[in-house]
Symmetry: C2
Subunit: 220 residues, 2 copies
Amino acid sequence: MNSSGGSRSSADTREAIMEATFRALSKHGYNDLRMRDIGEEFEMSRTLIHYHYDGKHDLISAFLEYVIEQYEGSVEVDEDADPLTELDARIDQCLFGPEFDTDFGHWERMKVYHELFSQAQHNERHREVFNNHYVTIRDSITQVLERGIDEGVFRPVDAEETAQFVTDIIHAARARRISLGHDEAPEQARRGIHEYILSSLLKPEFVVSSQRTGRNRSGE
Amino acid sequence: MNSSGGSRSSADTREAIMEATFRALSKHGYNDLRMRDIGEEFEMSRTLIHYHYDGKHDLISAFLEYVIEQYEGSVEVDEDADPLTELDARIDQCLFGPEFDTDFGHWERMKVYHELFSQAQHNERHREVFNNHYVTIRDSITQVLERGIDEGVFRPVDAEETAQFVTDIIHAARARRISLGHDEAPEQARRGIHEYILSSLLKPEFVVSSQRTGRNRSGE
DNA sequence: CGACAACCTGACCAGGCGGTAAAACCACGT
DNA sequence: ACGTGGTTTTACCGCCTGGTCAGGTTGTCG
């Protein structure tokens, strides 16, 4: 058996193919990605790919899930911190990646991610996968916001809508950095979020009480 | 002669090719765009394209400029309005297109635009064109902001940085609508911009004294 | 050992791709 | 009428692509 042993197994090979696909995709881009390119990045024979995956389409679909799995697995945040700190950490992680100085591979991953993302409009299955991922990211921010609101640290905004707003900004900054080469985009986005959103959330003199005392509870 | 007359000329044909390219690109997407697809959308023979353009690459480059020219030509804003109104109008135009109810072709154009945009990372020339366009859009917003600041309507923020922030948000909303099919994204972005940015700009009591929004209390 | 299944390879292919060659068309000036 | 130069079409091609297939290698169990 090779379920956990070290011998060359199907699972190992499939993982190697995924990494080869990543390298090829990173080099050539989605449009110019040939099966042969993946084969060249792959230590074994090109046709072996066809043994493990049913054609190019199946391979790309599997790769998409592989990439997103990696992305979500890399998120590490101290959830015991106060809401503002956690929110800040999540935003930074989205903008700059999990490691802060050594990992330049982060942007290679992002490059591939965004390339697949922009192709999602042409593939219903891919769109669904990205939608789920998008929701995951947004919800993680929504939850921090809600916690902050509950604890009275943030003013009572619509958490989900605000989280969506922040998520959009993060995506835009990444896209601009990748497509246009604006290396400063993530840093700019960070400043904007702080100046316009976080500062607004924290406004202490805005705290409840004043305008809408009767609105909340009475309902109908 | 046909320099300004109505007879079929080279310029007419080239324009027809551009429109055929648009249709083909809209149908098949950039990845699956074959010269033959353009030929099918084109009223004349497929190979005629090769007479007017030096290969696929040249054609796409010309098409990119064609699309951006159209985009910039479609911007219509009353520059005599007060800064807030003009800013609002510009944002709406970016988010919803020049016409507000009849034009569903707007999103077809945007779809193609964003597809080319995401491909810009692989082509230096294209990246440059998009960069210029990006700057054009951002500057138009920067100028309104500066005017508003001069007139005392807006608080004195860094106009360019804020304009960049707004531009990013617009792009993100469009990308999300197109790639993920979120039809509500532009409307959400609009609300977010109003709630967090415009309202902040208008704050009359913008207290300059404590620009720090106070990260807890440790600060610097 | 021998057999069976899983894994891997090199040689090969049919189809479709972008692109070209040369002939036909057409509106002119002479 | 006829040639001329820009335009358009028809017929065609070489190349490269994703994919297949028969056969080899490895590992495992009766």
